[in-house]
Amino acid sequence: MSSSPVLRVVTETAPVSPKLTLRGVSKGYVQSSGERVEAVANVSLDIAPGEFVCLIGPSGCGKSTLLNMIAGLDRPDAGEVLMDGAPVTGPGPDRAVLFQEPALFPWMSVVENVGFALGFVGTPKRERRERAMFWLEKVHLSAFANAQPHELSPGMRQRAALARSLVCQPEVLLADEPFGALDAQSREVLQHELQSVWLETRNTFVFVTHNVREAVFLADRVVLMSARPGSFLAEHRISSPRPRAFEDVLLSKVVVDVHDSLLKEVEKVVEAEGSARSDLA
């Protein structure tokens, strides 16, 4: 009887080298007014291989900044971003990014968009279309392969963008509020689609959102960020088995918890803005 807890301790502390590591990362911007704003301050985080992490926090807390640094689109001012122990120096096919706007290329058909990245890794032309079709089928868009992006609905465009980001089979998928601009129904469809993609690929997903329900539904771990300058406040592990459903009672309990702590952070932001305003007065 007493041996099982011991065994569990051993498995939990077994060294698994993280897929992604943020170590003391800080980043600031100079605004057009010339004022310097600290977006992220001294953030450290390990993300295990195959883990689904959601970053959540009040708007302007530096979530996107953090994601851009992992994507290699931005460099930290201090600290380092590592992938498999090696520093991230720029964007790469091993880290796909899904943005809030689908940003499909309007001069290409949907299938050409999806196959775009294959052109940079030396995939022969004929194979490109096949592989693009494979991913279009995964997001249930194969009927629209030869359509132009503007002929799709916003939800379909974002699904095409998802297929496009997955075509090179990246080890890491980074998503910056990808469903934020969608209507509630498309959003739900895409959340389920993303869950099934993750279940199938078991890749490392880092997902930025400010929708608590979305975060809890998708993630293994929800990381709550503080108001600007962003840093990590708390994290919630969500062990509910997958595939999950929105009706899951266990999930709704976690949603309430996370929501409460998020609300406290948002209130802080509002207070800070209020006091800043009274300072100005």
């Binding site: 096919p93 309007p106 940079f120 503007h150």
Partner: protein, 261 residues
């Protein structure tokens, strides 16, 4: 049937505006306030147009010569101007140096180059081509640079995360994304080139063309022929504009940028 109706809907305003202008013109002519040299009648212009249409020095042959000159000088201007514009978009130093030079040249009416052009190239077609190219190159360069600069950053970012970098990013994302703005710029450039060409042809006696014909008819006080030639110049312009508009609409339709009317 609906196609015919569509053509009709598109055509009637064009015919109507011509009818209105000719009607006003005929009415003013009928008052007899100006004599027929100052204001010739619509019918005399119509007659001049038809009687000078064909032949070796007819309006059609001259229009062909002028349009050929336009396309040659436009091709040179597009090649040179696009190169300069891309360099301006790619480098801040080039933008600040060559870019401001281009803006300065743009402010200069290209016909003001003519005295120098005649000294350098003589009263020849070469002088005309120089004046046209020197006027159109800055327009193409500035349009190219701004169309590249106005490419949505989201597309560039997407391209970078999908593995494009350096020249490939430029060739496969930035340039295709800049095409609609570039075409709009070329539409301005050809109009500048066409006006510069007509003006230069007016002055340079060594090369026949529509502009030269206007000058000749003017010296002979043949005002019906002056107006007839002006009408041909306008029609040529409308024709060239139609070419660019067709390309522009094609590109915009494919990208979903065309507002259905």
């Amino acid at each position: 049937m609906s196609r015919l109706k569509g053509a009709l809907v598109q055509t009637w305003p064009r015919i109507a505006i011509i009818a209105v202008i000719v009607a006003i013109w005929a009415a003013v002519y009928a008052t007899g306030y100006w004599d027929t040299i100052q204001l010739p009648s619509p019918t005399s212009v119509w007659d001049a147009l038809w009687s000078h249409l064909d032949g070796r020095d007819g309006l059609l042959a001259l229009a062909y010569r002028s349009l050929l000159r336009l396309f040659v000088s436009l091709a040179v201007s597009i090649a040179v101007g696009t190169g300069i514009g891309l360099a301006m978009a790619a480098s801040k130093v080039v933008q600040r140096s060559v870019g401001s030079l281009m803006v300065g040249l743009q402010a200069l009416p290209s016909i003001s180059w003519l005295p120098l052009a005649i000294l350098w190239f003589g009263m020849s077609a070469k002088a005309i081509l120089f004046v046209v190219v020197v006027g159109a190159v800055p327009a193409v360069a500035v349009a190219t640079a701004s169309s590249v600069r106005l490419v949505p950053p989201a597309l560039v970012r997407a391209g970078r995360t999908l593995g494009a970098s350096g020249l490939e990013l430029y060739g496969k994302v930035v340039l295709p994304a800049a095409v609609p703005g570039y075409i709009a710029g070329l539409q301005q450039a050809w109009a500048i080139a066409w006006r510069a060409l007509m003006a230069a042809e007016l002055f340079v006696t060594g090369a026949r063309g529509l502009g030269h014909f206007v000058a000749q008819a003017g010296e002979a006080f043949d005002t019906p022929l002056v107006l007839a030639t002006m009408i041909v110049i306008m029609l040529c312009g409308i024709g060239v504009d139609l070419l660019f508009t067709l390309v522009d609409r094609r590109v915009r339709r494919r990208r979903g940028l065309l507002v259905p009317s």
